[in-house]
Symmetry: C3
Subunit: 311 residues, 3 copies
């Protein structure tokens, strides 16, 4: 998420009420998730396990709960509760705005685009040209839809990330202030749910096609020309490269990468990154030819058993 203007480190520290390490006029351009953060942006980290990763990331400002040495050319925001203070920033820059109208006055809708009845189009949504948005679709605030996109009924763009921190008094929610970006020529089936980024974007790449009832988590990047079949669930912060095919009811764990052109068979459970260009199957997923051999082998157990017992 880019801020509406460049803020200074001091201004940001004042918003969240924290100390800072670095020049008070150090420029801060925005805030983001660690797997996609860019120079000028803030990331947060509150677990020692990830300190190093955050400090060495592309982020220029690290919101952290320890007074560590500040890396060269960067700045720190020192806070007891980076999680809560990151929420303060999200709330400051992207507060939830209720909408009186089914189609917000601040939504921009391109020429030739058809919006069927009973849709909700939120604040600052941009939809390109020659799209077809079927009835009963929900496109929440700030989402961006390209040209020649088709979205089927019941689909929701821009629901919140499923991300909580356990506190003694109950769960604290990580606020979502990011967007969903749907690139040109994408088609999304009926009753899909695409969560928006926490501060970054959830992206469906150009010409990718999603079947019905697919779930895509926050800050996930789906490449171009992917095919994803129904009931597949993709967790948050996943990177799916171009031309990947996921068959039905596949589940994908958060934070992994699926290489270009990989194919994952139906009902597989992907628990780690997958190399490009190969075909996978099973839960947990392995290369399909290995898994198929394994399944064939299981059928041999009775005769193994008989041999063993026969001795």
């Amino acid at each position: 998420m880019r801020f509406p203007r460049t803020y200074t480190l001091k201004e940001i520290a004042e918003i969240i009420g924290s100390e800072f390490v670095g020049p008070s006029d150090f420029p801060v351009l925005g805030m983001n998730e660690i797997h996609v953060v860019e120079p000028g942006e803030i990331v947060f980290v509150d677990h020692p396990k990830y300190y190093d990763k955050a400090l060495k990331s592309k982020a220029s400002v690290v919101l952290i709960n320890k007074d560590v040495e500040c890396p060269e050319g960067k700045a720190l925001l020192i806070s007891e509760e980076p999680f809560s203070d990151f929420n303060k920033l999200t709330h400051f820059f992207k507060p939830f705005q209720s909408s009186g109208a089914s189609i917000s006055e601040t939504a921009e809708i391109g020429e030739g685009t058809v919006i069927q009845p009973n849709c909700f189009i939120g604040n600052n949504v941009k939809i390109g040209k020659n799209c077809l948005i079927h009835a009963n679709v929900t496109i929440n605030d700030n989402c961006i839809v390209g040209d020649e996109v088709i979205i089927h009924s019941g689909t929701v763009l821009g629901s919140d990330a499923f991300y909580y921190k356990k506190r003694p008094e109950g769960f604290e929610k990580l606020l979502s202030g990011g967007r969903v970006i749907v690139e040109d020529k994408v088609e999304i089936g009926a009753s899909c749910t695409i969560d928006r980024g926490v501060t970054g974007d959830t992206t469906i790449g150009e010409d990718s096609k999603l079947d019905n009832q697919i779930q895509v988590g926050h800050d996930t990047l789906i490449g171009k020309k992917c095919l994803i079949a129904s009931h597949t669930g993709i967790a948050g912060c996943v990177v799916i490269e171009d031309e990947v095919t996921l068959w039905g009811q596949v589940g994908i764990i958060s934070g992994i990468t699926i290489g270009k052109g990989a194919v994952v068979y139906a009902q597989s459970g992907v628990a780690g990154s997958l190399e490009a260009g190969k075909t996978y199957f099973g839960s947990p997923a392995a290369e399909a030819r290995v898994k198929m051999k394994e399944l064939a082998m299981i059928k041999n157990i009775p005769s193994i058993w008989d041999k063993i017992k026969g001795k």
Copy 2:
């Protein structure tokens, strides 16, 4: 389901046209499902296998298709078709009422609660304070939502139980007259479906968090501070105790209990009750460490096979 006033046994017998055993002025307070029935209420039973369970339950009145001995302090309704006669009572006390308005005049909505566009809020629904109900949500008749609840777009509260009796002439549906209760601080993701109770309540406990596209069956009780990931399906009459975590695409069979603090890994299929405090995996689900060993062992089959053949 509690009746609007105390009825007499005779009055109830007249509604369904059945005989009764017990004092004609025996007080009847309501009707309920057997796993949550309370004194004063009716349960029904039509299969000899469950007679004993029904007669020994907390129910004060048993609607039954056999002239059994009446337990001390209880009453019986004797009927050839308890299933159909239970439906008569549901229809009498909770007939379906159509709604002209998107937000029923009889719905009560608390202070500070935001209802986004295109929602349906049915008759006698109560929503607490400071809730956020996103666009295109459906909350059917009689559902109760607490304070500080968030419900995302496309979600449906109060669809009917999936429960039919096979008759020679076709399926007879068990009517749903119960409610969905969503307690304080719950968050429910996008496009979830929560069936209402048949005559009791389907409950989502305080501070529990549901991801997108989750299915919860009728009369299921979800405890407090549970986390449930997307595409998980929970059948009817399940008891999920507090602080349970269910990862994505888990399936849970009807009528079982999942103990406090249990964790179930993604894509598991739970076919029986699970003890508290443990971690489970697989379909059918077993303790994760046992299941993991099993998966590792399967990889040994080829070398076992080679050894056997080598002899």
Copy 3:
């Protein structure tokens, strides 16, 4: 899909700009999918592997990308791109029509049918008598719903087939011009998605009952008195015969047949046709008793392993 009148072969060839083989006044009644095509109708075929099947089908006209010998009593349309030219016909006979109203003026709704708020009912939809259509349901153009049907909130009838042809410049979509037919006494749960046929019909047979969040692909035929539990996904062109039971989270591959009265246990993955009257389990699914033995056998591997190692 039947055309509004009988067309001549020559007229059809002119619409798509192709050559034809056969009498120019050869009567053409409609177009259809190969597994349900009837005499008088067109099918298309563009892969040599399926030429024979198409030429020997019941179709009277074959749209094909090779100048083959014309079977007796039939006609051919010769085209370089049968896929694209089939789309031209779909577009000609069933162009998408946008809808200004939530309930189209051309929709017919039977006596005693209740349509709850916020539904979308498209052009030329026909709904029978005494149906209950809950809030936020979408019924797209040309769908046909019988009598005494119940459809729960969030469900979508008539989304498009998930069917694309890979071209160097991107995916070409196979247009959907077909219908969804819901027969009498069917009940469909909340947030189901039923794709319409490409040119034929997707059919849910009389008295069948679908739970929530079920996906049914294009041109699939579900028989009478079937029971299908939640989160089950059925691909396109599947034939499910009468009285089949599918438990929760089952996945079914395209183009297969599930025999009458078959039962498929939860989370199974059906990758081939299943015989009638049997019970199945697993992914890939096999007869349940075989699969159960297999699962029991896997538990023996550790003792097999110990014996082998002990030698």
